[in-house]
Symmetry: C2
Subunit: 344 residues, 2 copies
């Protein structure tokens, strides 16, 4: 039995002993930090520059922040994102806020870590559109300030794709929102949230939302990096919502693994800051949170919620917003007197 299996077993055992009524947990002040990528101030600062730099895309128009906006909900308010040359992605951009607490990345969990995730969009033809990682690194090597910063953080010849991913991931581990009104409530500050929100929290437990949206990020239990917490969506497919919002069109994790068992399996998304991340679901077809709550109840729990129940659940979900750390705008490195972006 390896360590991961043991941990999962212990978790399952714990769940059995504690019974179905999972308790709420406040978000920790620090996410898990991988041993091979410790946080340093210089690395985080470099990661912030890279995260906000549109020159990481082939034509200089799309940065990580374009789709995962740290000035907003960590997403882009769109059903699907816009990549280079007006192209559209296939899935809704997940929020970057608190992604550091998730054990896998992307809707289908195909990246085992933030580091692995960061490499994907760079060479996705409908996102940042680079033909390969080498193209990105060659461009960044033209900026003396980037070269120096990578060497400073990672040592000699430090500018490579793995270190680029590490720096971005380090910055993303700063993008967390402990201390939300609900966290203060969970820690004992009873007046931190309104009565309706408290009723919503009770309902959230009672009807079973918390079965999947458990743990401090409301995205399942904390699991070792690369594990992933997946659920079938939709579980109950024979209803009007599934047709209306085309919720069964995307095969989810199957697209990444080609395992039959992964058909329609999706990573359980975090509910933190969910009131700021409309539109909803993997295809972004549901535009409002109240409708998303109705859809979830029907497709996952086979329940029809009353308007009152929806209102309470939304009130509860709204207490999972923020607070957001204050960030300064970085100065992006420049190559004096020339551009690295090809003419179009």
């Amino acid at each position: 039995m390896n360590a991961r299996t043991l941990k999962l077993l212990l978790f399952a055992l714990g769940a059995l002993i504690s019974g179905p009524a999972l308790a709420f947990e406040p978000l920790p002040d620090q996410p898990p930090i991988p041993k091979d990528n410790p946080q340093t101030t210089a690395k985080i600062e470099l990661g912030k520059k890279l995260y906000l730099d549109p020159r990481l895309s082939v034509d200089g128009t799309v940065s990580c922040n374009s789709c995962h906006n740290v000035m907003a909900g960590g997403d882009d308010d769109r059903a699907t994102s816009a990549g280079v040359n007006g192209q559209r992605g296939g899935r809704n951009a997940p929020t970057v806020w608190n992604a550091a607490f998730l054990s896998v990345q992307f809707w289908d969990g195909r990246a085992n870590s933030l580091e692995e995730q960061a490499k994907g969009p760079l060479i996705n033809p409908v996102e940042m559109g680079n033909p390969d990682h080498d193209t990105v690194i060659k461009r960044l090597k033209q900026y003396p300030e980037y070269v120096a910063a990578f060497n400073d953080v990672f040592g000699k010849d430090g500018l490579n794709i793995d270190n680029l991913a590490k720096a971005i991931a380090s910055f993303e581990r700063m993008l967390i929102t402990p201390g939300a009104p609900f966290d203060r409530y969970a820690k004992g500050e009873k007046k931190a949230i309104a009565k309706k929100a408290r009723q919503g929290a009770e309902l959230f437990q009672k009807i079973g939302c918390i079965t999947c949206h458990s743990g401090p990020a409301f995205a399942g239990p904390p699991l070792p990096e690369g594990t992933g917490f997946f659920q079938r969506f939709p579980t109950f497919a024979d209803n009007e919502f599934v047709k209306k919002y085309e919720l069964d069109q995307d095969l989810g994790r199957y697209e990444a693994t080609k395992n039959e068992a992964d058909k329609h399996m999706f990573r359980v998304p975090t509910l933190r800051n969910v009131a700021m991340t409309a539109p909803y679901f993997h295809n972004g077809k549901v535009r409002t949170l109240d409708e998303a709550v109705r859809v979830m109840a029907k497709t996952q729990l086979n329940r029809d919620l009353s308007d009152d129940a929806v209102e309470k659940l939304v009130a509860f979900l709204e207490t999972l917003t923020g607070p957001f750390p204050e960030l300064t705008l970085p100065r992006l490195p420049e190559k004096s007197g020339t551009t690295t972006i090809s003419a179009h």
Copy 2:
């Protein structure tokens, strides 16, 4: 004779009296502030949010900052900018840094003020792509935080297109870079720039670059708002550069005024931070600063520069970079539980 004509006449008279050797002037610590739009902290903060908010574009993908990046040279490193749906603009994005010192805006000077300029891209179909200003205002009115901020800054029912433009312009008046190495040199700190740059500054005066690139922003003399300082480009059109870089294809100010006399007339751009704003000229066809210097000498002064002269002029121009004020990232207003961006 109106006030504007009088001021221009006095300026010309001053130039005659002082002779052709125009002196260098450091950039003032404050740009001109219009009487009807005084600077306030709350207005500047609101303007920053608007400037950085991609939801000002029809599909939520393009902010002012997308093309005039305040984390970089105030531009986008591209020949021409990318608007909504992968569309391309016709001219190179001018830098926003120190635009507050220019008496008209756009390459063709078609906007008399920063306020007027700010309204343009919102409804330009190849930029932010809104069908009209009303669409923008209707969207912003969905954000209680924007409504409150406008009312706070401008009074009751403050959220309208004129006030939106005022707030953005107020923020832009903070985007200035006094205290560049050359400014320190011009104020008497003789070691602030290297010998080669000092030689370049002498050359800049001697061969006549300063005739047009005069004044504290190196964009012509300070003039009353709406005046504009224009020059014909190219003045000398019979050379290889004009053909190679298609410099005579754009009719410039004529496109805005339809006056024959305005054919090929362009606003003289600022040279501040020019080392950070490649590629160059209204069409962005010239990719490096040294080549831009050669092109200018040939097309405007009918001179062929030696490599040594180009090197010195570039060294001088590099002393016009920064320093840039530190800015914090704003939190953009959110509409809880819904998006204002239409599905695509």
